[in-house]
Amino acid sequence: MEHTAGRLTSSEPGLGLRPVGAIAGFLAPALIIYFAFTAYPVVRTIWNSFFQVFPNRPDEFVGWANYATLLFEDRFFHRAVGNTLVWALISPVVEIAIALLLALALYARVPGSRFFRLAWFTPVLMSYVVVGIIWTWIFNFDWGIANGMLRAVGLDHWAQAWLGHPDTALPSLIFVTTWMWAGFNMVVLLAAMHSLPSEVLEAAELDNCGWMAKLRYIVIPLVRPTILNLMVLSFVGKMRVFDLVWITTRGGPLWSTETVSTYVYKRAFNWNTFDLGYPCAIATIWFVVVLGGVLILTGLLRSRDKLEY
């Protein structure tokens, strides 16, 4: 992050030339937006979480009551946390494993790899709203292609309303996000692999190193930093997942796809409870959990690096 740029501005007091006005002018708009619409809302959310906030009425201080309720009593919240964690822990692994396979396939320079790359990237370009609607159709019991294919191979009894059953709804949605993000992860990994020194892989080729061994001992260790980044990105993305659930299942059936985000939304804007303090407490807790998760994730993967080298 250190650049040799901006030499104009060393810090002697009282000497001209440091363009204080210019610096302030350049930063001001962004910082105003940042403080007004990011920093202040964050602080206010945390503040709110200690109050009951009803419209047209002064806020009522409740101390840690919101937190006590949601930590010890709110079973819906516990369910939402469970679902979200499952999603956020499974997805990164599955997405990146598939992405690695795909990237390796294209790394071998098959004909048309440019086309494949462009095609596989498309799902991530679509709005979750569009994706959600398409996949409710694909999972439709009567005419969805998922069941259509099962019936075609004679597995009729497996056919079911995938998003309509508590046991299959969450896995189905995880499947959808995997479909969406595998191509994205693949593109990033492929870029990382192409930036590796090609002699390394060629040397392995000559050593008659097996495919799996090559993957395990050469490719993965070398693209580890990229994998770490992708894991964090995927984790953070799944910890906040909202649109897809809202469009497809609204958290149902029977809370089986409720996520923290949908639950916050329901408590704040959808149920007629009107209290904004309680959802703020949820958001605050979740904020802390996400930050902690990112720190742990980066810490874990970093310390493994240290052990190995």
Partner: protein, 370 residues
């Protein structure tokens, strides 16, 4: 117009202990071609950038034509600068690169056109005016950078190692063109380089810097012949000057006897020194029969370690008895010597310089600075 005066100029970066530029005083007259010369990191660029207004001044005063400039922003100093990296605007054509500074100063279109065409004519850039920098060769880019300064017709030109990215042949020809340009424009130019050949061949005066301080200022040959200290002596000249430590025996007639290797040399040496450093430039050694008639010589026996016949001259690497370091001598092209030979060299003692053994400061009365 164009008198630049540095009075005890000092620059300290951030909270660094050592000053990058330390108490530099320099009076550059209008129309002068002043070269700042010194090894890497000695503060040449920093000095230049303070003059330009790109770097705030920590201490001292900078004045141009008698006006104090310390707090005047770069754009109001009427100075143009040519950068080592050329710093051409990559998104503009050559024409626009040249015109950019003029546009800001509100010149009329015809005037801009005229100046750009003139400068392009002088620099041979006319065919390339519509090109972008990436489509130019290194030499052409260099000319554009130069042109950008010329069109401005500033009070002072600053150059920061402008030729160091060119190949050797181009460097020599650009050197000559710059000298011609200076004669033609007559504008004050301040030129930073670490190449002593550039400094000697271009400068009307040279300012040699060491560790942020001025070591010596003077006309090229004065500085070369009368270096103020051993640093200057060894920085100028290639091959380097020979510096040999020697004992001093005071004599009666104000002349002392120096012992260099096996030889005893009589020379003027201010009293109070028992040891001095003797500086002898390689070209002040002569093989037998080569010495000019008026040379005041002492002779020195040496064994030849290596011979570099360069065509126009021959460089000998010599082992002189009683002298630890190898001695270099530059002799005529017809020298018939081979490694292992024993030779008897004549030293022109008038060209010899004496320095204080402890401080390295010149002792001989001839060494005037300024």
């Amino acid at each position: 117009m164009g008198n630049v005066k540095l009075d005890r100029l000092t620059k300290r970066y951030g909270d660094a202990d050592a000053a990058a530029v330390d108490d530099v005083s320099l009076d550059i007259e209008r129309g002068e071609f002043m070269v700042l010369l010194g090894p890497s990191g000695c503060g040449k660029s920093t000095t230049l950038r303070m003059i330009a207004g790109l770097e705030p001044i920590t201490g001292g005063t900078l004045s141009i034509d008698g006006e104090v400039m310390n707090r005047v922003p770069a754009r109001d100093r009427d100075i143009a600068m040519v950068f080592q990296s050329y710093a051409l605007y990559p998104h503009m054509t050559v024409f626009d690169n040249l015109a950019f500074g003029l546009k800001r100063r509100g010149f009329a279109r015809e005037e801009i056109d005229r100046r750009v065409t003139d400068a392009a004519g002088i620099l041979g850039l006319a065919p390339y005016l519509a090109r972008k920098p990436h489509a130019l060769s290194g030499g052409q880019r260099q000319r554009v950078a130069l042109g950008r300064a010329i069109v401005r017709d500033p009070k002072v030109f600053l150059f920061d190692e402008p030729l160091s990215n060119l190949d050797a042949a181009l460097r020599v020809s650009m050197r000559n063109e710059l000298v011609k340009l200076h004669q033609r424009l007559g504008t004050t130019m301040i030129y930073v380089t670490h190449d002593q050949v550039e400094a000697m061949s271009m400068g009307s005066r040279i300012c040699i810097m060491q560790d942020g301080r001025v070591a010596q200022v003077g006309r090229p040959l004065d500085v070369y012949r009368h270096p103020a200290n051993t640093f200057v002596a060894s920085f100028l000249g290639s091959p380097q000057i020979n510096l040999v430590e020697s004992g001093v025996t005071p004599g009666e007639d104000g002349r002392s006897t120096l012992v260099v290797g096996g030889a005893r040399i009589h020379a003027h040496c201010p009293p109070g020194h028992s040891r001095v450093i003797v500086g002898i430039r390689p070209e002040d050694f002569y093989l037998p029969g080569e010495a000019p008639d008026d040379a005041v010589g002492a002779s020195l026996a040496a064994r030849v370690l290596a011979v570099e016949a360069l065509g126009a001259e021959t460089v000998l690497l010599l082992d002189v008895e009683g002298v630890e370091k190898d001695v270099t001598a530059r002799v005529g092209r017809s020298a018939h010597t081979a490694a292992g030979d024993l030779v008897e060299l004549t030293v022109d003692t008038r060209a010899m310089r004496l320095f204080d053994a402890a401080s390295g400061v010149a002792l001989d009365p001839g060494s005037t600075t300024g």
